[in-house]
Symmetry: C2
Subunit: 137 residues, 2 copies
């Protein structure tokens, strides 16, 4: 989609969102080309604004308690293609072009395990070695 999004559109979206008590909204992210579900995370108003301003997806990191530019370390950025909102306004569907791997474990999608008759099984291939990407400096 064209970014930056006009301010009035951003404000209309924010008004439609049912932010939770922490001021976050649930974000589910899908690869726009393949339809594969990539991840679930959270956005606060700042993360949403940065996403719509830059065209690169930003989240709110609950563990680090700050803005999280997805792919900043790994280079595996998510380019925003489309943003959708659900009926009750508490979830955003973020459709993206995923560069590299969405998962910090090195898989294209964070959902690389399925439930089988014997429990969880990994049925996806690792694209990259996470140790090679997330070096401790």
């Amino acid at each position: 989609m064209d970014t930056p999004v006009p301010l009035a559109a951003f404000e209309a979206l924010c008004a439609a969102i049912q932010w939770n008590e922490q001021g976050w909204v649930c974000a589910v992210t899908q690869d726009a080309d393949s339809g594969e579900m990539l991840m679930q995370a959270w956005m606060d108003r700042e993360a949403l604004r940065k996403t719509l301003e830059t065209g690169k997806v930003h989240y709110y990191s609950r563990s680090r308690k700050k803005l999280w530019f997805k792919g900043e370390t790994s280079g595996h950025v998510q380019e925003l293609r489309e943003l959708r909102i659900d009926c009750d306004g508490d979830t955003l569907l973020v459709r993206v072009k995923q560069r590299g791997a969405a998962c910090h474990e090195g898989y294209f999608s964070c959902f690389y395990r399925r439930l089988g008759a014997k429990g969880l099984e990994t049925d996806r291939e690792r694209l990259i070695d996470p140790n090679a990407v997330y070096r401790t400096s």
Copy 2:
């Protein structure tokens, strides 16, 4: 997928889930045939058990504070095709065959609005009239 799922597989899944403080896990639901994202909701252990026992998706209703058999009123049930879990165990990807409309507003998906340059716009067709389905008795 084959249901009911063996008890050991259910227990392995439950052990991998990072339940939140309320005892819920985030569930994002996708139509398995089209790849279209349908909805986001929550499951507690009971909802997950009923889903894996019956092959029909159940959630935990936060508003009604009880087990929610999706489609019980409308007939628009979700038949479980595949269940996946993300890397940190706090989100389930529920892949289903959606019967009828997933959204109580009558749309196939709850994500029937997209962000455009002028704000939110509905770019999906209503499949059914919600007033005809959810009659007050």
